[in-house]
């Protein structure tokens, strides 16, 4: 069991993290999804998603988080996010120029209005969130290796 190893923090932090980390992840996805109606958008929501994975690394040691999202999976997801944003921009060529808003603009205040703004929010949140998590993972992996000498 992971609570028997000595990595990570004390028992109180581990128990609270088990309860709280899924709430933080769902809150981040909520802020991304409502980016065109209320506050937030892709950048703030993506960083909240990255913070939930950083909380996993801090509380349990690095092996548990690497089992959830390995390094190659993180690199692939990040490039998929960037390519999705570029693809949405190139789709604007179907109707005139680069970056035009081609989907229908529905009724305001609903969740499926505003054309391509909503899809761009998802693409940006994928890129920013997974990218910042992989930055922190790079800091952690190198640190352990050098202190083992």
């Amino acid at each position: 069991m992971s609570s028997k190893t000595n990595t990570g923090m004390s028992l109180i932090v581990k128990t609270v993290t088990r309860i709280v980390v899924s709430v933080i992840l769902v809150f981040g996805i909520y802020i991304v999804a409502h980016g065109h109606v209320a506050l937030g958008g892709g950048f703030a929501g993506g960083i909240i998603i990255a913070l939930s994975f950083v909380l996993l690394i801090l509380a349990f040691g690095r092996n548990v988080a690497v089992n959830k999202i390995s390094v190659t999976l993180a690199a692939n997801l990040e490039t998929i996010g960037a390519l999705m944003f570029l693809g949405i921009a190139l789709l604007g060529f179907l109707k005139g120029a680069f970056f035009t808003n081609i989907l229908s603009k529905g009724v305001p205040f609903k969740l499926f209005s505003a054309g391509t703004i909503s899809l761009s929010n998802y693409a940006i949140s994928l890129k920013v969130g997974i990218g910042l998590f992989s930055i922190y993972l790079a800091f952690v992996i190198l640190e352990r290796y050098k202190q083992g000498k």
Partner: protein, 112 residues
């Protein structure tokens, strides 16, 4: 007017930190303070007395809003500041492992 001058004093404190400190981490903190001062200055330019936040509500009164254009530019700038700080910290960690110190007067050997 005094608010703009206070903002520029914050910028000058960051600039003093970059010019005069010998510890590498203090120089990076100076960069961070400079970028906070610039973001605050841009948002101060667009404030309107008794205005509303630029998010529409059900009463649809768009005539009295605060300027949303500087807020969009500063939104981009905040995330870029985070990327810049992370890259500088990575370079500083690497320098510490090669030379054993954060002191900039001792980092003067041009080898690999």
């Amino acid at each position: 007017m005094i608010l703009y001058l206070l903002c520029l004093i914050l910028f000058c404190i960051g600039l003093y930190g970059i010019l005069r400190k010998r510890n590498l981490v203090k120089i990076i903190i100076g960069f961070s303070i400079m970028s906070y001062a610039l973001n605050l200055f841009l948002v101060l330019l667009g404030y309107k007395f008794h205005g509303r936040a630029p998010i529409g509500a059900s009463d649809q009164n768009f005539a009295n809003m605060v300027d949303p254009l500087p807020q969009a530019l500063v939104h981009t700038s905040i995330v870029i500041g985070l990327g810049m700080t992370a890259l500088l910290i990575a370079i500083a960690i690497r320098i510490y492992e090669k030379y054993g110190t954060f002191d900039i007067t001792k980092i003067n050997k041009l080898k690999g």
